[in-house]
Symmetry: C2
Subunit: 131 residues, 2 copies
């Protein structure tokens, strides 16, 4: 069966989307990502879309869904490698990818995730010290 592989790198998960995303594949990916986060206790999800030349509303919604599901499981999501043409189309379609952070490269995305994780850690420490 077709399946998008999820690579584990330290506390992060890395997903490279290359195939055209259809309904079944998107549901499978959501299922796989949530299970990996819960299995490995991952704190960040990096989704590389550099090989996608078209991001339609379905893929946009899938990305937003994965980000929202990851957040409730305690992991931040960053989408990396968006092509300029994709950014233009997304804005023209009126889609702003709510709740999804973006970065230009995988490395920048990793930095962003590690900073976000540290901030989240500090915040919960602050809450604890205030309690």
């Amino acid at each position: 069966m077709e399946r998008i592989p999820i690579l584990r790198i330290g506390s992060l998960l890395l997903i490279t989307i290359q195939l055209d995303m259809h309904d079944k594949l998107a549901l499978q990916l959501q299922d796989d990502v949530t299970h990996r986060i819960s299995d490995y206790g991952s704190t960040g999800v990096l989704i590389d879309i550099s090989s996608l030349e078209i991001v339609d509303s379905f893929i946009g919604r899938t990305l937003a869904n994965i980000a929202a599901m990851s957040r409730v499981l305690g992991a931040e999501t960053v989408v990396v490698g968006m092509q300029p043409a994709v950014a233009i189309t997304l804005v023209e379609l009126g889609m702003s990818l709510p709740g999804v952070r973006t970065a230009l490269t995988v490395e920048a995305g990793m930095d962003l995730l590690l900073t976000a994780v540290n901030e989240a850690g500090n915040e919960s420490e602050d809450e604890r010290s205030q309690a």
Copy 2:
């Protein structure tokens, strides 16, 4: 045009193969990998094949070619995520992937590459100190 994305993580390049590899795609990948190594001065190439259920002699030869080309450019190659069935088929086909190191997961592959790079560094230092 269809193209397999190459992600840069520090001094390593990460390639996730998901599509069926045909002639043109394989040549494009060899071309892309060699250019990236020379552009970024990468010291290691990680190729994830966890989503491949079949590795035929063509893909095997492509992997071996990429490893050989990377080596002359100064980068080690590790193939990660091979499915058990693929390993069985490769051996039954009489293919041993000469010159290609393998590891079970991306993390193990990264460790292997970083060790290999350090060893290579020490060797050249030894050569220098002997000279």
